[in-house]
Amino acid sequence: MSLRVMIVDDALFMRNILRDIFLRAGFEVVAEADNGEEVLPLYRQVAPDLVTLDIIMPKRSGLEALRELMAADPAARVVMVSALGQDALVLEAVDAGARDFIVKPFKEEKVLEVVRRVTAQD
């Protein structure tokens, strides 16, 4: 069965890039969200295998959404998407339970490598 991924990013451009990468790799993109508030309800609705979560977003930040998500499902597999220079936020996210992170601008192989390892871990 193909991997079911949920993409959360406020920029349509980034969502499209990630979606194309995942589709090319044969994954299924089961949901997309452009703000932190929708993350938990959507996650509950579609129960994806993996979530990519932009670290900075309007309304509720990626970090807040992550904490909410981890509290609701400690087994959730979340990969943070950050920009350069957000080391402190990434560190906080990892500490809060994010399984891994990718830093923009990223290469396709890098994204897939991270996703594959995270989903292979358990």
Partner: protein, 501 residues
């Protein structure tokens, strides 16, 4: 208040309570109306519950509370209902499992089934401790120079390693990493059943990992021991500690005398001061060695339960007698002996004792002039040297000519041959074959010897003998110490040796 720092102490004391509870329950099975034992059992459960509750371990508290309530009823009624020990022993097992969960830092296991009276699955004594060989690796990882958020990356790797074994030490550690310390290099001491190749592949699978190098700690063992020890605590008697503080103080004074005498080129004074220093050092050495000693009974606590379970499983009658539990032995030696001792007791019940007779197994510690003896004896069927020799020849372990020349003692020692123990026919006839090679190897590695005394129908005695090294201070009692332990202390790590010289 941060309770986590009390965790180690909690674990140690909780284990003591559980061992004691197991002993009392076995005792009560024989004498269900022993009021003192009932009261003691209740107190053990109560203490355990209070401790667990203070630590905030919810499941442990619930189970201990359940046991406490049951025991309160028994105590008040003055007797343990027949057949009720099983449920309580299952509770003890469950609590031991919960302690393991705490050690492994995983969530406490489900206890609902036990609390509503479902049987708790319990490993059979035979399968109790399948020792997975664990290795300690010192792994060094280097992250690529262009790594983004290197501290977060290192933290992820460290977290992954936690799932693969026990991280004994990490440099930098998780707390330092959480503070965002810039980090290109991560050094980890990991105890794990994984092979080096598997571990390396796993680590190389992480983004940004540029270099993985290993320093295998198996050979030297010193680092391994050092990290392993920092994780453990040792309880030292206060008077012993004070004695050591006082002695080191005297040594410091002595050093001043030595320095003055050396400066003044006063050879007579120097000689006298050196002599006094030497005596003080011996004295201190002796006191330090004391901190390594524990009574034999610290490892025999589980035997009553083991014998009870084995007797029940095999339908034999078996009584365990523990003698000389106060004999002092080196801490590490005792730890290493716990498993072989269980093995010997298991063999005695399983293969020595005869069904339908009043079986008795004795575990005795004894001090001789130059050795500590630990003896496991039974009044079972005993070993038949002729049958043992015949089997060894049949198994091709011995030529017929050689067999004819064997003394009785040598014939009995055949059970310690590796190939011998696996022969089912032999264990049926003579018993005592299972894993004796392992027992013998372990004992010999610890500097001891194994003696076997037996004859058909007259039971069997297996005696472990550890030579002693007398370590005495001026005007002190002579305290015997296992030579292996003394040797370990007498050859300290280089840095310690340096500090002393």
């Amino acid at each position: 208040m941060d309770m986590e720092k009390y965790r180690q102490l909690f674990l140690e004391e909780a284990r003591e309570h559980l061992t004691r509870m197991g002993q009392l329950l076995v005792l009560l099975e024989q004498a269900p109306e022993d009021g003192e034992a009932l009261a003691a059992l209740f107190r053990q459960a109560h203490s355990l519950k209070s401790m667990a509750s203070a630590m905030g371990y919810a499941a442990t508290t619930r189970v201990a509370h359940h046991l406490e309530e049951t025991l309160a009823q028994w105590r008040d009624s003055g007797s343990m209902p027949s057949g009720a020990a099983d449920h309580l022993l299952a509770g003890v097992d469950l609590l031991e499992g919960l302690l393991e969960d705490l050690v492994a830092e995983r969530p406490e296991r489900d206890t609902a089934g036990f609390l509503i009276g479902e049987p708790v699955p319990r490993a059979t004594p035979e399968a109790a401790a399948p020792a997975v060989p664990q290795l300690v690796y010192q792994v060094t990882l280097e992250l690529a120079a262009e790594t983004m958020a290197p501290a977060a990356r290192a933290l992820l790797i460290l977290r992954d390693l936690h799932t693969q074994g026990e991280v004994l030490h990490a440099q930098p550690n998780a707390d330092t990493l959480r503070r965002g310390a810039p980090c290109r290099r991560l050094q980890v001491w990991l105890r794990t059943p994984l092979s080096q190749a598997v571990l390396e592949a796993r680590l190389r699978g992480f983004s940004d990992v540029e270099l993985v190098s290993f320093l295998d700690d198996r050979r030297g063992g010193r680092e391994q021991r050092r990290w392993a020890k920092t994780e453990r605590t040792v309880r030292v008697r206060i008077d012993l500690l004070e004695q050591m503080v006082q002695l080191s103080g005297e040594l410091l004074t002595r050093r001043d005398v030595l320095q003055r005498a050396a400066k003044a080129r006063d050879w007579g004074e120097l000689d006298a001061a050196l002599g006094a220093t030497g005596r003080l050092l011996e004295h201190l050495h002796h006191e330090v060695l004391q901190t390594r000693l524990l009574p034999l009974e610290s490892i025999t606590g589980r035997l009553p339960r083991l014998v009870r379970d084995l007797a029940r499983a095999s339908g034999k009658q078996a009584e365990l007698r523990l003698l000389g539990g106060g004999v002092l032995l080196d801490r590490e030696l005792l730890e290493a002996l716990a498993e072989p001792l269980m093995h010997l007791v298991r063999n005695a019940v399983d293969h020595g004792l005869v069904a339908g007779t009043a079986g008795e197994v004795t575990v005795a510690g004894r001090l001789e002039e130059e050795a500590v003896l630990i003896e496991v004896g039974d009044n079972g069927r005993g070993l038949d040297p002729a049958a043992l020799t015949r089997k060894a020849v049949e198994r091709g372990l011995l030529s017929a000519g050689r067999a004819a020349a064997l003394t009785v003692g040598e014939a009995l020692e055949l059970i310690c041959l590796p190939g011998f123990s696996t022969a089912p026919a032999v264990t049926e006839i003579s018993g005592h074959g299972v894993g004796m090679d392992v027992v013998k190897t372990t004992v010999e590695q610890l500097g001891g010897t194994v003696e076997i005394c037996s004859s058909p129908g007259a039971g069997c005695r297996i005696r472990l003998r550890f030579p002693l090294l007398s370590a005495s201070g001026p005007g002190r009692d002579v305290h015997p110490l296992p030579a292996a332990a003394a040797a370990a202390v007498a050859a300290p790590a280089p840095e310690i040796g340096h500090a002393v010289s």
